[in-house]
Symmetry: C2
Subunit: 198 residues, 2 copies
């Protein structure tokens, strides 16, 4: 076999994108080459720059091209309220959806001992140092409502408790606009247990 | 407004890919940054190289990084049999699906006077010069079975007839209104075998 052509290399490289299989990758390669070379060149440039220059915020660990991210560098954000999320995407969706003025801490995953992901890997040592500074009064646990997310939330709750910091967990129940008939049993059971006075 | 962050720029740039909207682009950006930086770097490099180095074959007009594409440079391909397709993707799917040993001519589109795409834009002058050389004995019209594809086929048939070249059209086993790129191999092979005199 001769070495793969540049077109084949491009198709293969495009498959590193999530949700892109062989057929989509081929379609993307042809599309860029035949109709949007400028877009392709631009993407190549921004992609190379982003991969090299985007690191993590030294305070909240989110993705950031500066040592301190925009939110952490903003003096108007309430640093006594700390929302803890699993990923930068979760942080982004909270910022877009609600009017939250506190700060964040991004774990970059959840505890998963079988995969070798312990407290150190998700930055809990750094989080504890942050707690020790004494500025945080309340943490909002916004990890995913999955087994791993719950275990991670429990672990962080114990850490916060030892430092005398109040812990809250985002409410879990029936999603807004959803219909009871289509909600799974576990969610419904949780919604019943967590019912509040009307 | 401050200038968009590198992350936002990356998300925007990813949207130049076909079928990628705001949500998918964001997901891709986070995925590459958090899980596959090497894949992202590799993609950036191959993409930049492909956009700059892939041009068109001087003989058949398909996408090629060399002046003459691999198929045109292959002395074992039958140059008396010429298959005419609309796009490099169509050529690729034919190569993959059936055992065809002739050569190709890639139009790079179809006649579409309203969009300003006339015979010259789809390389018909070059095709006529190729006919004039006298080597081609038969052309297989494999343009899409759409209104524009049929009109383009008719136009090329008239050109070939004037040069005394036999013209065949792939059988209408290909579903009407469909596009070659998305047809399965068996159907395509059937359409090739069942080609009839134009």
């Amino acid at each position: 076999m001769s070495s793969p052509s540049l077109l084949q290399q491009l198709t293969t490289a495009l498959r590193c994108l999530p949700g892109v299989g062989a057929k989509s990758a081929q379609r993307m390669a042809y599309y860029l080459l035949e109709r949007d070379r400028d877009g392709g060149r631009d993407l190549a440039k921004v992609l190379a720059e982003a991969m090299d220059r985007i690191g993590h915020c030294s305070r909240c660990r989110t993705l950031s091209e500066t040592a301190l991210c925009r939110l952490c560098a903003n003096p108007h954000r309430d640093r006594s309220l700390l929302c803890i999320v699993e990923t930068p995407a979760d942080q982004s969706i909270i910022e877009q959806a609600i009017d939250y003025s506190g700060s964040y801490f991004v774990l970059g995953g959840h505890l998963s001992p079988l995969d070798g992901i312990g407290p150190k890997e998700i930055g809990l040592k750094q989080l504890d140092e942050c707690f020790a500074e004494g500025m945080v009064k309340e943490i909002i646990l916004a990890t995913n409502p999955t087994v791993e997310g719950e275990a991670t939330a429990q672990y962080i709750h114990d850490m916060a408790k030892a430092r005398g910091i109040k812990t809250t967990r985002i409410a879990q129940g029936v999603p807004m606009g959803g219909e009871l008939e289509y909600v799974d049993g576990a969610t419904l059971a949780h919604a019943f247990r967590g019912r509040s006075e009307f």
